[in-house]
C-alpha cells in the first residue's frame, strides 16, 4: 500500500527545526500561513514571523531587505502568487543581487484541483529557471522536502522550492541522501530513461514496473533540481539508453523538458518524448481527475515510452545503410 505524506507539512515542521538551530532564520508569508504551514514556525517563533498580508510584491522586497541585513529568509505563498505576481521583484531585488532568500511555494501545479485555472501554477518553473541566480527544486516527496529545505537553509543564495497541495506518495525513507543539483537514479535500465520531478517521480517508478514486465527496461531519474541541472546524469542517460522521456507537472515550455532537451541536443541527441501539460490550461476538478485528463499518469508515461521506442525504430529504419 502506498503511504502518503504532505510536503507542505514537512516544510512547516522543518522550519521549526531550523528556527531552533539558527536565530537568524526569518519567515514571511502573505496571508496563507495556514495553508503553506508556516504558521507552525509562527507559533513557535512569533517574533521571527511576519505576515505581509496580501502584498506579495512587498513581501519579496522585505525579504530582500532582511537578507541584505544578514538574515536567512524564507518567504511563502501559493506557487502561483510566489512566481507570477512578484516576478519583477524576484528579478531585481533577489536574483540580480543574489540575496539569501528562499521562496518555498506550496500548491504548485494542477493538483491544486478545484480552485481552478487561476490557482494552477504551471508557469512557475519556467519563470524561476529564467532567473540565473535561483536554485530551483521540486522535491519528489515529503522526506525529500525536508532535506531540500535544510539544504536551502545551509546554502547561501536564492532558492525556489515548489511543493504540492495534496499529500503525495512517499518514495524515500528517513535518512534519504539529498544533494542540491545531483539527481537520483531510482532504477537502472538500458532501453529508455525517464527523467521526472515532483509527483511524477512516483508515477515514473510505477510505469517502469509495468514496462519491465513487458520487457522494456527503464532507467528512472529523479531530477529534483532544475537549476543547476545535473547535466552529467542527462548525458549519461542519453549515452547509455536509446531514448529519453521527461515527465513534469508544468506547461511544455521552459520547464524540465525544455531544459533536458537543451542538454540532449547539445551533447548527445537521442529521440525524446514529453509528458507535460502541453500548452493548455487545466480546469476545476479533483486533482486525480485533472492528472488523468492531462495524461500525467503512470499510463501516460508508459505510452510516451512506447511512442519514443517506436520513433527510435523508425529513425533507425530511415537511416541509410
Amino acid at each position: 500500500m502506498t503511504v502518503e505524506a504532505s510536503t507542505r507539512e514537512a516544510y512547516g515542521r522543518t522550519l521549526i527545526e531550523l528556527g531552533k538551530q539558527n536565530k537568524d532564520i526569518i519567515v514571511l508569508d502573505a496571508d496563507l500561513s495556514l495553508s503553506t504551514m508556516t504558521y507552525l514556525f509562527a507559533q513557535e517563533f512569533p517574533e521571527r514571523f511576519f505576515d505581509c498580508g496580501l502584498e506579495e510584491q512587498n513581501m519579496i522586497g522585505i525579504a530582500a531587505g532582511l537578507a541584505a541585513s544578514g538574515k536567512t529568509v524564507f518567504a511563502s505563498s501559493f506557487a502561483v502568487f510566489a512566481s507570477c505576481r512578484c516576478f519583477d521583484q524576484l528579478r531585481m531585488c533577489i536574483s540580480q543581487p543574489k540575496l539569501n532568500v528562499k521562496i518555498v511555494a506550496t500548491h504548485g501545479g494542477i493538483t491544486v484541483g478545484e480552485d481552478g485555472t487561476s490557482h494552477h501554477a504551471i508557469e512557475d518553473l519556467s519563470l524561476y529557471c529564467s532567473l540565473p541566480s535561483f536554485t530551483v527544486i521540486v522535491p519528489a516527496d515529503a522526506i525529500e522536502t525536508t532535506e531540500a529545505v535544510k539544504a536551502a537553509a545551509a546554502t547561501y543564495g536564492p532558492f525556489y522550492i515548489r511543493l504540492s497541495r495534496p499529500k503525495t506518495p512517499l518514495i524515500y525513507r528517513k535518512g534519504h541522501h539529498f544533494t542540491v543539483g545531483k539527481s537520483i537514479t531510482m532504477k537502472q535500465g538500458k532501453d529508455v530513461a525517464i527523467i521526472a520531478m515532483g509527483i511524477m517521480v512516483a508515477k515514473a517508478l510505477q510505469a517502469a514496473k509495468v514496462l519491465a514486465n513487458q520487457g522494456i527496461g527503464c532507467r528512472v531519474i529523479n531530477m529534483h533540481t532544475l537549476n543547476p541541472l545535473d547535466e552529467e546524469a542527462i548525458i549519461k542517460a542519453a549515452s547509455e539508453t536509446k531514448a529519453i522521456v521527461v515527465a513534469e507537472e508544468h506547461l511544455a515550455h521552459g520547464g524540465l523538458g525544455s531544459r533536458v532537451a537543451q542538454i540532449v541536443a547539445r551533447e548527445k541527441p537521442v529521440p525524446m518524448s514529453f509528458v507535460n501539460l502541453k500548452d493548455r490550461y487545466s480546469l476545476s476538478g479533483k486533482s486525480g481527475e485533472l492528472l488523468q485528463r492531462a495524461g500525467l499518469t503512470a499510463e501516460g508515461i508508459e505510452e510516451a515510452v512506447k511512442q519514443v521506442i517506436q520513433k527510435n525504430k523508425l529513425s533507425f529504419c530511415e537511416m541509410p545503410s
Binding site: 498580508g53 502584498e55 530582500a64 541585513s69 519583477d88 531585481m92 531585488c93
Partner: protein, 288 residues
C-alpha cells in the same frame, strides 16, 4: 575634483563623521552638481533632472545626518540609505565618491563597460550602495526589511529611503506604506523627491498623486513637508523624523527638477537626456 574630504575609520563616534555646517553643505552640493553634470555628459546618457532635484537631500544625509563609515561600507551599525529612484544614481555616486567610498576620479567611468558605476545602482558592485534598483517602486519594501532587521537585532540604526514622486504611482509603494505603518517602523524615514515631473510630463497630468500628504497620513505615517533645497528645513525634518516614535515618517520634499542649472530646471526634456558637451559647459559655468 581631487580635494575631497578624507576620513579615518576611528573618527566614528556616533555622530556624522563630516558634520558639515549649512554653508559647507551648500558648497558641497554645488560641487556634487558639477560632478553630476560632468558624469552624465561624459557618459552621453543618464538622468540629470532627478539627480539634481535629489542631491541636496542626499548631501544632507551623508555629510550631516547619517552615521556611516566610508572605509567600512558594510559596517553593521551604519545608518542605511536606500535610493529607490535608481535613475538618480549619479547623485548617489557623487556623494559616495566625495565622502570617500571610492575615488572621485572614478565618477567619469559612469555607464562605461566594466565600470563599478552602473547606469542604475548595483549593490554588489559599488561600495556604499545598499540596493540594486532601477525598476521603480521597490525601495520602500527593501527599506522595511532593513528596518525590521534593526528591530529584531536591537540595533538603533536608521533607514532612509528616497523615492521619486512618480514612484507614488506604483502599487507596491502603497503596499509598503501600509506595512511600514502596520509594523510601527519608527526607525524608517521615507523622503519623496516631489519635483512634480516624470518622464512624459507633469505628474498631475500623467497620473495625479495629490493629495500626497493626506494619503500618507491616511496610511498611518507622520508627514513633514519641506523645501527640499533648503538645508535648514532638510536637517530639521530629519531630526523630527528621528524623534517620532511609534510610526514611520515621510518627508515630502518639494524640489525642482534640474535644480541649479537654469535651462534644466522644470524642463522635462532633461529627465533622461544627457546634456551635450556645450550644454554641460554652460551648466558648469552657471554652477561655479
Amino acid at each position: 575634483m581631487s580635494n575631497h574630504i578624507k576620513v579615518a575609520s576611528q573618527d566614528i563616534t556616533g555622530t556624522n563623521v563630516f558634520d558639515l555646517t549649512v554653508p559647507e553643505l551648500m558648497e558641497m552640493a554645488k560641487k556634487l552638481r558639477c560632478h553630476i553634470i560632468t558624469m552624465i555628459a561624459t557618459a552621453g546618457s543618464g538622468h540629470p533632472g532627478g539627480s539634481l532635484s535629489a542631491v541636496d537631500i542626499i548631501t544632507a544625509l551623508y555629510f550631516k545626518i547619517m552615521h556611516h563609515d566610508p572605509h567600512n561600507p558594510r559596517w553593521k551599525d551604519r545608518d542605511r540609505f536606500i535610493l529607490s529612484k535608481g535613475h538618480a544614481a549619479p547623485a548617489l555616486y557623487a556623494v559616495l565618491a566625495e565622502s570617500g567610498y571610492f575615488p572621485v576620479e572614478e565618477l567619469t567611468t559612469l555607464r562605461k563597460l566594466d565600470s563599478r558605476l552602473q547606469g542604475h545602482t548595483d549593490r554588489n558592485l559599488t561600495p556604499g550602495v545598499e540596493m540594486s534598483a532601477g525598476s521603480l517602486g521597490q525601495g520602500l519594501s527593501f527599506g522595511i526589511g532593513i528596518a525590521l532587521a534593526a528591530k529584531l537585532d536591537h540595533h538603533d540604526y536608521q533607514t532612509y529611503v528616497l523615492l521619486s514622486d512618480g514612484e507614488c504611482e506604483e502599487g507596491q509603494t502603497w503596499e509598503a506604506a501600509l506595512s511600514a505603518a502596520h509594523f510601527k517602523l519608527d526607525n524608517l524615514t521615507a523622503v519623496i523627491d516631489r519635483n512634480q515631473l516624470q518622464l512624459s510630463g507633469w505628474t498631475r497630468n500623467i497620473m495625479n498623486i495629490e493629495p500626497v500628504n493626506e494619503k500618507w497620513q491616511a496610511f498611518g505615517w507622520h508627514t513633514i513637508e519641506i523645501d527640499g533645497h533648503n538645508f535648514d528645513q532638510i536637517l530639521t525634518a530629519f531630526e523630527e523624523a528621528k524623534t517620532t516614535k511609534g510610526r514611520p515618517t515621510v518627508i515630502i520634499a518639494h524640489t525642482i527638477k534640474g535644480k541649479g542649472v537654469s535651462f534644466m530646471e522644470n524642463n522635462v526634456e532633461f529627465h533622461g537626456k544627457a546634456p551635450t558637451l556645450e550644454e554641460a559647459k554652460r551648466a558648469l559655468k552657471e554652477l561655479e
